[in-house]
Symmetry: C2
Subunit: 346 residues, 2 copies
């Protein structure tokens, strides 16, 4: 065990796209657990688009991080020292412990990713890293957004953007399980190949190289779009409204293309198109399904074990690589879940 | 009976807001019914925002009117001569017979306002003019959009734009029947007075004179907006997205503020707001409820008779006044349903 705790703090507020200089590696002593506390060594750190928003002075529901604060992030870690009766050394827990190697906790709080609480990991569900991906928050997001908001019917055409990402790749596969025809947009030929040949998507489109993206979407969706699963926002999302089917659903799950925007973007007024298509736009935030976490995690783990859902991970090693990996994830460098491994799992 | 049929034709395609010179009064012989046909004298003509769209070369689902075509419009008329076994002289029918005094029909088609068919009017439902308003398509629009799309719950705050118009005035009152708190936006102090003191809206806002409209909306909705009933579109609609409650519904019923736009309007990208509010935007077109027309008309007629729903009509007299009345309606000159009376009802 190293004798320092290394962490990444917010060094400067990004204007637009973050840069590595917006982060700083700091070292300090490993904290000692006081009465009722326990010490966690983080094994994996989850890098997620929402973390970009917290780098701003404020976000929708509260303050952002202060300069000097440890970056926010979900973690899976091992209890290595405990003065708490309910947490034993060697237990594996998931929590929102930030971009750092070690953290204290007092066991209070109920929920893992979305609050200050901890959740014990059930190692039977899969490798520990999956608690931050397919068996964690991204899996829950994909599961509930598809079954509760998108609700694909057999034969529906479902278009997924960010399709090779942590959430999009799972959402598309779940839609396939419901009998939908799934079209995925991703940013490289390798990702498109992965979507079609590994994950079973019906069509993949490289949005960066398609000579006429609108035409490519029309060609991929001869019966128009029944579900648009919006992971990215921006001009690509705008296009989908020109090709909606009657009674289609547009599920707004993420807007990664816009998280760097300082001002609100302007877009074409698509509301007449929504009206004439009798479409529904549904805003989705996974926190609303906290009470059904176990359902989602059990279902996703079972689908993975049955070979019905596949997942990928892009893993950087070492806390010092977290900023670089984060910037890469924000620009689509990852396939599947972007993680940082801080220590090898036991 | 006059010996000519007077009608209003499309004389020129408007660029932006239509002008009276875009219309022309023409006269021709009153057509004679052939075998299986009957002749209708139109008593009332309905002026509706959708008619603006048909003046363009194309609209979403087909061709627009040609220059020289009779303007499209719903009518209530009396059968005055018949060679059809099922339609007797003196019967009152509703159909899409256009901006003209007389029309032939062969009785084919099932549906009144939305196709080429006719519907017999049940005079017990109310004055004949109401078949084009509270007991007709605007009433159906308000009824189904509230009960099936907006779904207000007791205590919900419902904001209605175009609140003194044919649809908005009814929608707000129906929302009140469901226990909602209803805030209406209209374009004059007289209309605001009408909303609050005649129709029982909780708050009325004159959007033309409010010094800070966003502030007025916030003040009128201290618990934010649960339902935004969008009759108008444009910048006022955009504002509502800044004040949505969690799980709110935005029902897109009409976009009268944009019907003159030659190009698609740009607007702020409100989709992040939709996502974070977990809101749903629902496109609504009344045609989808054709199979439930009787339900809506019976319910609306009963509510009117019980004094639970009030309605207003703004009636111009004479087909030659139709263009002027239409332009007035498009700019908010009407309170309630805008009609043209062509002949006094029998």
């Amino acid at each position: 065990m190293a004798d320092v705790n290394r962490r990444i703090v917010l060094a400067a507020r990004p204007e637009g796209a973050p840069r590595e200089t917006d982060f700083r590696l700091e070292q300090g002593p490993i904290p000692r657990p006081g009465p009722g506390q326990f010490l966690i060594r983080n094994l994996y750190l989850s890098l997620d688009p929402y973390q970009r928003g917290r780098m701003n002075p404020s976000w929708r529901y509260g303050r952002g991080l202060e300069i000097g604060d440890t970056m926010i992030g979900g973690t899976v870690g091992e209890v290595i020292e405990s003065n708490h009766p309910a947490y034993r050394k060697g237990e594996i827990v998931e929590g929102l412990l930030g971009w750092q190697e070690y953290a204290l906790h007092d066991g209070l709080g109920e929920r893992a990713n979305y609050g200050l609480g901890l959740t014990r990991i059930d190692p039977a569900r899969g490798p520990l890293s999956t608690a931050l991906g397919v068996n964690g928050m991204p899996g829950e997001t994909a599961y509930f957004s598809i079954i509760e908001a998108a609700r694909p019917k057999p034969g529906d055409t479902v278009v997924v953007t960010g399709a090779a990402g942590a959430v999009g790749s799972l959402a598309g596969q779940i839609a396939k399980l419901f009998g939908a025809r799934v079209v995925g947009l991703a940013g490289s030929d390798a990702k498109v190949d992965y979507l079609v040949n590994e994950l079973g998507f019906d069509v993949g489109i490289n949005y960066k190289t398609a000579p006429d993206l609108m035409q490519a979407i029309r060609a991929a969706c001869p019966d128009r779009i029944d579900v648009y699963y919006d992971n990215v926002g921006g001009p690509i999302a705008d296009m989908m409204f020109r090709w909606l089917n009657r009674h289609s659903r547009i599920v707004i799950v993420g807007r990664i293309a816009q998280y760097n925007d300082a001002k609100m973007r302007t877009m074409p007024d698509v509301f007449s198109q929504i009206m004439l298509a009798r479409a529904s736009v549904i805003g989705f935030v996974v926190y609303d399904y906290d009470h059904r976490t176990e359902e989602a995690r059990n279902r996703m783990a079972r689908w993975v074990k049955e070979g019905k859902i596949r997942y990928a991970e892009t893993i950087a090693k070492g806390i010092e690589r977290a900023p670089e990996a984060f910037l890469s994830m924000l620009t689509g460098g990852n396939t599947g879940k972007q993680l940082v491994q801080l220590y090898p799992p036991p």
